[in-house]
């Protein structure tokens, strides 16, 4: 038996998002695109946004990465759809706090699935995988 339980990391719901990602793809137009790499491991994420003023009307992602980074990207797109950019960025901070093992109110995400990523905080080497898509999303503010 391992001291660290793998099942706390690879929860069923994470693997579901990994294998069946939500909002994966691109819009066939020149929608606002942001991109972010994790230069230490080679993971890449591209996000495309359809904005209505400061509201995220729709968002899609593509990229290469591990189960944690892609599942997190999938959940992130679900969580921010319909939200204001400012709110989305607040959620990203909340997500970072969750990764640091802080107590956070999961309900704020409005997406139950995200709770499954809480286990990543026990795997310090994988936190950057989980936060990649969220950090990329924060860049939309600067675009």
């Amino acid at each position: 038996m391992s001291h660290i339980n793998l099942d706390t990391l690879y929860r069923q719901v994470i693997m579901d998002h990994y294998k069946h990602p939500r909002n994966r793809g691109t819009f066939d137009d020149d929608s606002l695109t942001v991109e972010m790499n994790n230069p230490t491991c080679g993971d890449r994420i591209f996000l495309q946004f359809k904005l209505d003023g400061d509201i995220v009307k729709d968002v899609k992602f593509t990229g290469e990465g591990c189960s944690i980074s892609l599942a997190s990207a999938s959940m992130m797109t679900q969580a921010i759809k319909g939200k204001k950019i400012e709110e989305s960025i607040k959620l990203s901070k909340l997500f970072s706090d969750m990764m640091l093992g802080k107590e956070v109110d999961i309900d704020e995400f409005g997406l139950e699935d995200i709770e499954a990523l809480q286990g990543v905080s026990n795997f310090p080497a994988r936190i950057k995988c989980a936060t990649l898509a969220w950090k990329a999303m924060e860049k939309v503010n600067k675009e």
């Binding site: 391992s2 001291h3 693997m15 890449r44 290469e64």
Partner: protein, 407 residues
């Protein structure tokens, strides 16, 4: 060579990680250190520590003797003609940058070419990209064969009379390819070019003879060969180093300082501005003693057997792709179908097995392999066939785990 007995000299290996005895298969990233090295550094700080080449007190001259003694050990280790050719610095990256910024910028013009390969570590790509950018020179790549080796015909086609520098790894940190440096050096020299060899992956594992290779520059890092971090070596032929300007200026590297002009110390010190990395150099000396006592030939034999065993065992795993040639150094880079290398590495970590996952500072090679990341198990003198068996068991568990949880 008795790897089990050797293992006992590495205290770090005697521990459990995540409830399992540690299997360390990441020596290409950084090797572990034997007691002999740890104690040499400890002893230096307890008994000898002071600055070198200055002052007249006893500790100062003892420290200088140890530091310069380490230089002589390095000279013997790679069979350089003179200690004037052995420059201590931070590691292979720094060493290559010194050659690029000093020799490169002074000798390369926009009509010239610099030749490298797609299998280089970033540390042997970016310094040359920078030289090419600044000078306007052309950066050319020797193509790779399908199995990740280099053919001498391709070297002859790529290196021309306009080539000023050929820079190449002795051993690829991803493919494990062992490049024919002696032959490539000959081609470089026939075309009037110098050759810079990145020896980060070879100096720890092969008997290196810079005079036999006839290479102009050879660089390596101590921490990959049982020595502490922060110490590395630039070997250069004396005639070349004499003509080169230092890239770091300050204390330690000067001869006479005037208000508007100064002169440099003789080799090798003119390239060692500032207080050197004394304790780590002492540690490198101890590491060389350790390796030499074991015998580089014995290490080569041990690793060849391990590499063959690892290749054989890993090939038995269905859905596992191995990258690189059959004849290789003691490392195996691979991917497991449908499981990202990070996930492979995490599962193995819970079994106490340390491997590397990612792009291995070789993004060009990842593109060539048509993948974004790979997993790599790299071995050294303390690894045994048991370690490979544990790796194989861990990989089977990974497959099973992701097979169950994935759908």
């Amino acid at each position: 060579m008795d790897a089990r007995a050797i293992r006992e000299q590495f205290p770090i290996l005697d521990q459990e990680v995540n409830g399992h005895p540690l299997v360390y298969l990441d020596s290409s990233a950084s090797s572990q250190k034997p007691l002999q090295v740890i104690e040499a550094v400890d002893h230096y700080y307890r008994t000898t520590n002071s600055n070198v080449h200055r002052g007249v007190h006893t500790l100062g001259s003892r420290a200088t003797d140890l530091y310069e003694g380490a230089r002589e050990k390095v000279r013997r280790f790679i069979n350089a003609k003179s200690t004037a050719e052995i420059i201590f610095n931070r590691g292979a990256t720094t060493a290559i940058n010194i050659v690029a910024q000093s020799y490169g910028l002074a000798n390369v013009t926009k009509e010239d070419e610099i030749v490298i390969t797609p299998m280089e570590h970033h540390s042997n790509i970016i310094p040359w990209q920078q030289v090419a950018k600044i000078t306007g020179a052309t950066l050319k790549y020797i193509p790779l064969q399908e199995d990740g080796t280099i053919s001498l015909d391709d070297v002859r086609k790529t290196v021309t009379s306009n080539t000023k520098i050929v820079a190449i790894a002795h051993i690829s940190n991803v493919l494990g390819t062992i490049n024919p440096i002696k032959e490539i050096t000959k081609i470089a020299h026939e075309n009037g070019a110098v050759i810079v060899v990145d020896g980060a992956q070879s100096a720890p594992h092969l008997q290196v003879d810079v005079q036999d290779l006839d290479c102009d520059f050879y660089t390596f890092s101590g921490h990959k060969m049982c020595a502490p971090t922060g110490i590395g070596v630039l070997y250069g032929k004396q005639a070349l180093l004499e003509k080169m300007e230092p890239v770091e200026f300050g204390g330690e590297m000067i001869d006479i300082v005037d208000m508007y002009e100064s002169t440099w110390k003789e080799l090798p010190w003119k390239f060692e501005g500032g207080t050197p990395i004394i304790a780590s150099a002492v540690g490198l000396g101890a590491a060389i003693d350790f390796l030499t006592d074991l015998g580089m030939d014995n290490i080569v034999q041990h690793e060849e057997k391990l590499a063959a065993y690892a290749l054989e065992r890993l090939s038995e795993i269905e859905g596992l792709t191995i990258y690189g040639p059959k004849k290789r150094a003691a490392l195996v880079t691979f991917n497991l179908d449908d499981v990202h290398p990070h996930d492979v590495s995490t599962v193995l970590d819970t079994e106490g097995i340390a491997i590397r996952a990612g792009h291995h500072c070789a993004q060009l090679l990842m593109k060539w392999l048509n993948t974004s990341a790979t997993a790599r198990a790299s071995m050294y003198l303390y690894n045994t066939e048991d370690d490979i068996d544990r790796l194989v068991a861990g990989l089977l568990k990974t497959k099973e785990y992701f097979g169950n949880v994935a759908y």
